[in-house]
Symmetry: D2
Subunit: 354 residues, 4 copies
C-alpha cells in the first residue's frame, strides 16, 4: 500500500558542471529528508528527480542553499517527470539495439494478431524488407466480443520470439493485465498498452516496475493531458522509457474507424520529452488511407509509426480491412523515403539548435 | 488458454411444461456433442443456454428433433446471453438480501472514497437514514494523476465491512485489477467496475468466474452495444448477475462533468434483460444538478441509482463537488418518493402485462 | 451597419419602490450619455437594461449617484440579458393566448412537415385531442439532401393557418432565412429556429426585430453557453421572447439519432430565466423511446415539450420513424398526467419560495 | 417554389468520340421528357448531367437506345454531381486567373477580419510576399457573442478590393446570408461559407445561382457525407465551382481549438472530384501548431490551404492567437517549399496515370 503513496515530486537542477561530490551531497540531503532519488539525467547539467513524502518546503530550502545546486523546485505541470519542464531534450529509448526518439524515423510493422508460424514469419520478413525495425503482432487480443479470436497467448509470444531470431527485428506486443507483465516482458522488446487500457491504473503501476520500454496508446476518448498523466504513472513508478502513440480518437465521424488527431503530435512535442509514434492503421481503419496519413505523420514530426501489414489481408483473423498487403507496404515505404529524408534534415537542424 | 475459446452460443427453448426427463435428455445430448450447459432459466418454459465449440449445425438439428424441444438456435444479436432474445424477463439480482431488477427502486449511496472509519460510518448511517440499501465507497481508486489519493485498499475494505455490520447496508465497492477480484469479493456484496475498466477484458473474464454480482459502468466513450458486449464477457464466462450503469459519456460539452445519455436507459430496456442503474453524480459532476437528474432517472425507468454523498463534501478527498451533503441527500430522497410511487405502479402494471 | 454595433450592456437596479420620477430621471440620464434603454422589468423593484456605446464608467458612476438607484453595473456573464444575473424570475412568454414559462407544462405537437391539407388538419385535431396547445409543422424544411422534400413553403403556411382556425391551436413553424422572417411571422405564433441555424447570425439579428416569440433549438454540437449566446443575439437586438430547446446533441453514440443532453435543462435553469423546451422526438429519433424521455423531461423540470406526431407515420414524407401515431400519442399524454401533476405542485412551491 | 423541386438527377455517358450531332440529339430527347441539361463535361467522352422531374425510367430507356449513347443512369451515391461516380477528373476552378485543383498547391492568406485600410494593405503585401495567391479577410464576421466586433461590412469589401488592385492577389471573403450574396459577389473572387453556415440551406441554394467559386467550410460537427451533401446543394442549383475546406471538427479534446480531421482529405479524394483546402489555423487555434499542420496538409494531398496571418497578431480584433506574424509566415512558406515540390511531383505522376 505504502508503495502507492506518491508525494508531489521535486526537481533539483545542479549548476553547469557541478562536481560529483556536489551531486552526491545533494542526494544525501534528499535522503536525509526522507525522500528518494527517482532519476538523474543530463551530462553537463545534472538534474535530479525526487519522489517521496515529507516536508517539501524545508527540503527545497535546504537544497537550494547547497553548493552546486542551482534550483530546487516543484514542477508546476500536472504531469511532472514527463513534462518538458522537467527535461528539455527528447528522451531516447533503446530497444533491441534501436533508438527511438533519436535521428531515425522508426517504423514498426506486422499483423494485428499472431495467427500461425507461417503467417508471422512471412509478416516479419515482409516487414524487414520494407525497412521496419520492429515486428508488431498481438498474442493477447483485446476484442469487443468474447466470441472473437482472443489471441494465441504464450504460443503467440514464442512465435514472435522465433520471428525475431529469424529476421533480426525487435518485437513489440500487447500486454493486457498486470498479471501478464512479467511473462510478456520475457519475450517482447517493447510492451504495447492498448487504447482501452490507457487508464488501467493497476497495469500502469506494474509497468513502472518492469524493465521494458512501453508504447502507450492514447485512449479512444482520452485527452492529451490524460495520456500524459497515464505516462506519468509509469514514469513515476520507475520506468522512464515510455513512447506515446496517437491512434485516432472517437468522434461522431464514421467515414473512418477513428478520427486521427494528428495535431496531437506537435501538441505533445510542446509538452513532453517522450517520443511520439503514429498508428495510421487504427486511426483510419481502411487500407487505402494509410499511406497518405503516414506521409502526414512523417511531415508533422512523429518519431516513428506502427503499421498493420499482413501477407494476405483478406484472410486476416482481425483488422484485415486496415492491413496493407505486401505490395502496398513496399510501395508506401518507398514513397515515404523523400519525406523521411526531409524529416532527418529538420531533425538534425533542431538538434543543432538545441 | 483453452478457457478463453468461446464458440458461438446456442439457446434451446423447451416446450411449455416439458418434463424433467425431456430437459435432462436435451442436456445429455448437448454434452454428447461436446458442448456445455451454460445456464438454465424459466420455470414453465425452460430455456437452456449452451456454450462450447463443436459441430453447431448437427447439434442444433439433433436437438430440434428431440421430444420436448421447441426450438434450438443461434442467437442473432452480437451479445447473446444478455439479449432480450435470450431471455424476456428482467434479471433479478439478489445481493445482501436485496433484489435489484424487481419491484423496488434500489438506491446505493456513499462517498467516493473510504477515507477513515469515522467518515465511512457516518456516511453509512446517513445513507441508511435516506433509504439506501447499499453503501458505496472506493477502497481502490482509479485516479487520473498518480499523485492523487489512491484509496485505503484492504484497510478500506475492512472499514466497509464494519459499516455493513453497524448499519445492515450491503456494500458495493470497486475492483480495478483481476488480481484483486478474489480479495474484494470477500468484503463486497457487489463489485463495481469503473468506466475506465469497462473494456479491461482480463478483468471481465475473471469476473465471470467470481460469485458476486457486478455493477458494470459504461465507459466514457463506449457505445451502448459495447457496454452490452462487455457484460456478455462476464455472463459468457459464467456470472449472470450483471447490472449496467449509465454514468455519463464524454462529449464536447463542458458545463457538466460528463453528458448523461439518459436515453440509454430505455434503449437498454429494449435490448437486454439486465437491470440498469443510473449514476447521476458522475454524470453531471455538480451537486445541485443531481436531484433533478435523479428524478429523471426514476421517471425514465432505471432500476436503481448510485449516488455520492459525504458527511462534509467540502472536505472530501475526491469528488466533493458532486457529493450531496446530508441535508441535500435527505431532501432529495424525500422529494423522490412520489416519483418512486409512480415507478412502482408502472412496474407492477408491466409485470402483469408480461 | 451602425445597427450591428452593440456595446457592453449595463443594468440599473432601482431601489425597492423607487418612484416613477426616479425611474424617469434615470432613463433621462442614460440617454444623456448616448445610451438607449433596452428594457424595463420588475414591478416592486425596477431593473433597467441599457445598450449602446459610450463612456461606460462615467455613465455608471453618474447613475449610481442618483436618488432611487441602488446599483448600476456591467453584467459579468458573457450572455447578459438572458442571464439570471440580469433577471431572477422565469420569463413568461405569451403566444396565441397561452403562457410558456408559467404554471402550465406546455406541449406542442404535430408532424415534421406540412404535407397536405388533409394531413395537417388531421394532425391538428389529434394534437388538440391529446392536450397540445400548439401545432407544429414545417413549411420550410432544412434537409440534408437537395433531392429530399423541401417543404410546401407559403402554401404550407396557409394550411397551418387553416388548421389554427379549425382547432384553435397556436402555430409554431420553422423559418430558415432572414429573408423569410416577415412572411412566416404573418402566419406563425411562434417562430422555430432549427439546430442547423442556431448560429446563423444574420437570421438571429433579424429575429431580434420581429414581434413573434422564438423557439431556438440547440445546435448539434453547440455548447450550452453558445446556445445562450445565440439567444442573447435575439434579445440584445430587441426581442425578449425566446425559448430554448434541447433536442439532442451529436456524439459518437449511434443507437439514438442524437444524444439527449437532458442535464442541460437544470443547467439552463441555473443560468437563465428563459423557458426551456424539450424535443424528445429529435433527441432519440425512434418512436418507442419518446414516451420515456418525455416523462424524464417533465420530471427534470422542462417548461414544455415539442413532439412529432403523424396520422400515419409510415407514410410521412420525413421523420416517420420518430413520429408517434395517434394511439401512442394519446397513451403517452395520458401516462404523463401524474408526472405533470407533480410538475405543477413543485412549480407552485418554487413560485411561493421566490 | 418550383425552383426548389429537384428530381433525382441522371447522368448520360456518350460513347468515346460521339459526334456533335449525337450529343445534340441526346440533349433534345432529354428536353422532350421535360428534363433539363444541367452540365456537360469531358472532351473525348462527353458526359451530360440531367436534372428535373419526369418519368425517369422511360427517359433513361429512351436515351440508352440512341446512337452515340453508351449509358444512361441514375447516380447511386447520395451526393450526385459532386461524386467521383459522376466525374473522374479533379475539378479545376479558376478564380482571378488562378487555378485551384490543378498543378499548383494554392495558398490563401490574410487576417481573420478586415480592420482598417492600413491593416489589410499590409496583410495583403505580406501574404503576396510569402507566395499566397489569394487574400483572405472577413468583412462580415460570424461571432459567438453579439458584443464582439461584427466586421466592417461593405466598407471592408471596398478595402479588400483596394488590396487586390494594389497587390494583384485575388480576394476570398465570407458571406453570411442569402441576402448578401449578390453584394459580396461584386467584390470577391471566391465566396467563403463559414462552418456555422454549412447547412444554411437557403444560403446554399442562392450560391447555386451565383457566378463565383465557393469555398465551403465543413461544419463543426458535420460528417464528411453531410459536407458533400451541402456541396451538392450548390452544384445541383447550378454552380459547379465548389471547394471543400477541412477546418477541424468539434470533439472532447480541448488542447486545440478544434480537432483537425486530416484523414478527411484522402477520404474526400476518394469520394469527390472537388478540390479540398485545409485551414490549419482554425483547426488548431494556436500559432505554433500551424506550420507543422500545414506540412501535414501538403503531404497528405490537399489542393491548397487558407492561413490566418496578421501584421501584428497581438493587436488583432479576432483570432490573434492563431494568426502567424509576418516572420513566422515567411519562415513557414520557405520551410514548406520542399514539401510542395514533392506534392507537385506526385501530382504530375497522378495526372499521367489518369
Amino acid at each position: 500500500m505504502a508503495s502507492t503513496v506518491l508525494g508531489e515530486p521535486m526537481i533539483i537542477s545542479m549548476r553547469l558542471h557541478a562536481s560529483k561530490e556536489e551531486v552526491a551531497a545533494a542526494k544525501a540531503r534528499i535522503e536525509e529528508f526522507g525522500y528518494k532519488v527517482h532519476s538523474i539525467s543530463g551530462e553537463e547539467r545534472v538534474v535530479i528527480g525526487v519522489v517521496g513524502v515529507g516536508d517539501v518546503t524545508a527540503c527545497l530550502e535546504s537544497l537550494e542553499a547547497m553548493p552546486g545546486v542551482e534550483r530546487a523546485m516543484r514542477i508546476s505541470a500536472p504531469y511532472k517527470f514527463v513534462s518538458l519542464e522537467f527535461k528539455k531534450e527528447k528522451t531516447r529509448i533503446t530497444a533491441h539495439g534501436v533508438t527511438i526518439g533519436g535521428d531515425e524515423f522508426i517504423t514498426m510493422a506486422g499483423p494485428c494478431s499472431v495467427e500461425s508460424e507461417k503467417q508471422i514469419l512471412e509478416s516479419a520478413e515482409i516487414a524487414a524488407r520494407g525497412g521496419a525495425k520492429f515486428l508488431r503482432g498481438g498474442a493477447y487480443k483485446p476484442r469487443t466480443s468474447p466470441y472473437d479470436f482472443q489471441g494465441m497467448e504464450v504460443e503467440g509470444l514464442k512465435l514472435l520470439d522465433k520471428a525475431r531470431r529469424v529476421t533480426g527485428l525487435g518485437v513489440i506486443t500487447e500486454v493486457m493485465s498486470d498479471r501478464d507483465v512479467e511473462l510478456v516482458s520475457e519475450y517482447a522488446d517493447i510492451l504495447q498498452i492498448g487504447a482501452r487500457n490507457m487508464q488501467n491504473f493497476a497495469l500502469l503501476k506494474t509497468l513502472g516496475k518492469c524493465g521494458r520500454p512501453i508504447l502507450l496508446k492514447r485512449g479512444l476518448s482520452a485527452t492529451i493531458k490524460e495520456l500524459l498523466m497515464s505516462a506519468e504513472y509509469i514514469v513515476a513508478h520507475g520506468n522512464p522509457n515510455v513512447m506515446l502513440c496517437e491512434r485516432g480518437i472517437r468522434t461522431f465521424e464514421t467515414a473512418t474507424r477513428n478520427t486521427c488527431d494528428i495535431s496531437a503530435i506537435p501538441v505533445l512535442n510542446e509538452l513532453t520529452h517522450l517520443p511520439v509514434i503514429l498508428d495510421p492503421s487504427h486511426a483510419v481503419g481502411k487500407r487505402s488511407l494509410v499511406p497518405p496519413l503516414a506521409r502526414a505523420g512523417v511531415a508533422i514530426g512523429a518519431d516513428g509509426m506502427i503499421v498493420e501489414i499482413h501477407p494476405q489481408p483478406e484472410k486476416a483473423m482481425s483488422d484485415g480491412a486496415q492491413s496493407l498487403d505486401p505490395k502496398q507496404w513496399m510501395q508506401m515505404m518507398q514513397d515515404l523515403q523523400p519525406y523521411i529524408a526531409l524529416w532527418k534534415k529538420s531533425r538534425s537542424a533542431e538538434t543543432v539548435a538545441v
